[in-house]
Structures are given as structure tokens and as C-alpha cells.
Symmetry: C2
Subunit: 199 residues, 2 copies
Amino acid sequence: MYEGVVQDLIDELGHLPGVGPKSAQRIAFHILQSDPVDVRRLVLALNEVVEKVRFCVVCGNVSADEKCRICADARRDGTVLCVVEESKDVVAIEKTREFRGRYHVLGGAISPIEGVGPDDLRVKELVTRLASGEVTEIILATDPNLEGEATATYLARLLKPMGLKVTRLASGLPVGGDLEYADELTLGRAFEGRRLLDV
Amino acid sequence: MYEGVVQDLIDELGHLPGVGPKSAQRIAFHILQSDPVDVRRLVLALNEVVEKVRFCVVCGNVSADEKCRICADARRDGTVLCVVEESKDVVAIEKTREFRGRYHVLGGAISPIEGVGPDDLRVKELVTRLASGEVTEIILATDPNLEGEATATYLARLLKPMGLKVTRLASGLPVGGDLEYADELTLGRAFEGRRLLDV
């Protein structure tokens, strides 16, 4: 429909997650009408990410160096290890400022449907990391969905015999939410995990 | 929050239209985990657009050559000229297969609020194009909003004295839509433009 190179760009943009054909068209026309300097900055950022970003040799988080900033930070508590699926989960948890321990990024979750088993995740690296004996608590912070729960259960069974305290993030009502809009599963979990109020 | 280059990419992606911070983060992580070959294809498409795409010297549409495909096509009817705001409007009209004439892309619409006047649009080029006398009908296909209507009114006043037939696309109910969900303005226009049914 468009002249070749414009259509090529629309096609490439359409492959990005969350970008449909209409958005791809809008972005392509925005780029067409942009200052070439701005487009070159985007191109540079893309190239830099492809060339420079690697994964931390310790935790598997995205990193510009061999060790990520968190693993390189000596002030972080090495006795508590938080296991997450993806690097973006690290960012989400860091934003809460609640956690001062270290992380381990699995690189996904166990999903028989998608053919992802424990061997496709950084589980072996996790076990190796625990060998030093520094870690005393493992917080399983995989997603609260089918795959995340399966992964947490698998890891709990694997790690418990090692004498570690294994915990899971609480499920329950989102803060600021409305009880009547909570789905049954969440509301059920909120009952299950109810706390005694000390007043 | 992220390692430098990843954050740079998130920032650059966030400048694109319709891409919020969450989408930018999702796209950036998708790119991080993509095959570098795919990312290079996107980078190539961006570079190609910046380097190769120009605007047709006749109609102002995006083009890979001096003249766009429509202006270069001798089979198109040169007596009817459809005036649109943007190149994407050309694509939308071409998809209907209803129009076999030629186009003129203004590059926007008159908008006093945004400081866009007739001199900022390709109005002078339009008048020059009409000098040959080949065009007999002008279809004003600017958007059916405030700016588009103002632009159409301005052009109609400018072109009528030249002895041209000046028409405007019909406003009315969208086909396949529900009458009860139509806004008052659209419904009012639909009444105004009602047609006699010859049955």
C-alpha cells in the first residue's frame, strides 16, 4: 500500500509487542516527519542495546558490565535471595524499596504448554550459587499465575531439602482496590492468607 | 532505574506516539531478548526511511522517487483532484477503490491554536497545479473536525472564483454503526444530508 521503504518500516514496527498495524502506521509517519537527528538517536539506542547489553554472570539480570549493579553493590544483604522470572521484575521490586537482598533471574517460568522446563531456566546456576552457604532465605517472587506458581512449587521442593527458609510473596487484595471487583481466586487467597490484627 | 543503555532505549521508545512508559519498557525487553538479526532489520528500515523517503514534487505524498506512484500513473484521471491533510489519508482513500483521480497532500490543516495558517500548508502549490486548467473538480477530503472544516471552507472560498466544481466528502452515520451511539453532531449532519430514496 505504501512506497516500499515505508511499508518495510511499518512491517518491522508491527512485530514489536503491543504495536498493531494502526500503531505501526502512526509511528512510521511520526518517524517520517521527525528530525533525522531524533531518529538517529533511536537507532543508536537500538544498536547500543544489541551490542552492549549482556546478562550478569551472577544473577542473570540485564547488565552493562560482567556483574550487574546490584550484584556489584557490597551493601546489599547476601543472606536473602529473591528469585524472579525476568529482569523487569527486579525493577518492579527495586521500586518498592522494601528489599535490600540480592536477586536471581530465572529467565522465564516453567510452562509445559510452551515447552519450557527447569533446564531452560537458570535453575542450575541458582543451585550453584547456593553452594557457598551464604544464603539463608529464598523468596520465590515468580508471577502469581499458573506458570509462576508451578515454578515456585518446583523450586520449593528442590530447595527445602537444602535447609533453606523458602518463602513466597503474599497473594491477596491489591492495595487501593475494591473488594467487589476482586476476582474469586484473589479473594479466596486473601481469605486464606488473612492476618490477625493486633489492636 | 535500568542500566544506562537499556534506559536510553526505553526513553527513546517512549517518545514515539502512542507508546507509554510501560509499553516502552515491554518493547525494550522484547528487543533485548530478540535475535540481533531482527533488531538490525528494524534499524535498517529506520535508516532507509530517513535516507530514502522524500515527498512527491507534484502532490506532496510520501514517495521513494521524485514523483509518487499515483502521480506517475498515466491511467489516473487528471480532471479530479482530491485534497487531503496527510499521506495516510491517501492510503485510506486508496483502500476504498472508489477514487481514480489524483491527490494533493496539504501537510496538515489550518489551526489558529497551533499557529498553522494557509502559508504553512501546500496551498500555493495547489493553486499553481490548477493553473494548467486540466482539473475541473476539487474534492475537499480534509478531516471532518474543526481544523479540517476550517481548511475546507478556506480552500472553497479560494478556489470557487476559479470556476472549479468544489465538493466535500459527505458527513453522516458510519456504515455498520448504531444510530443510538452516534453523537449529536454526526446525527445532525446525517439529517441535513438526507437523500431521497428512489424506490
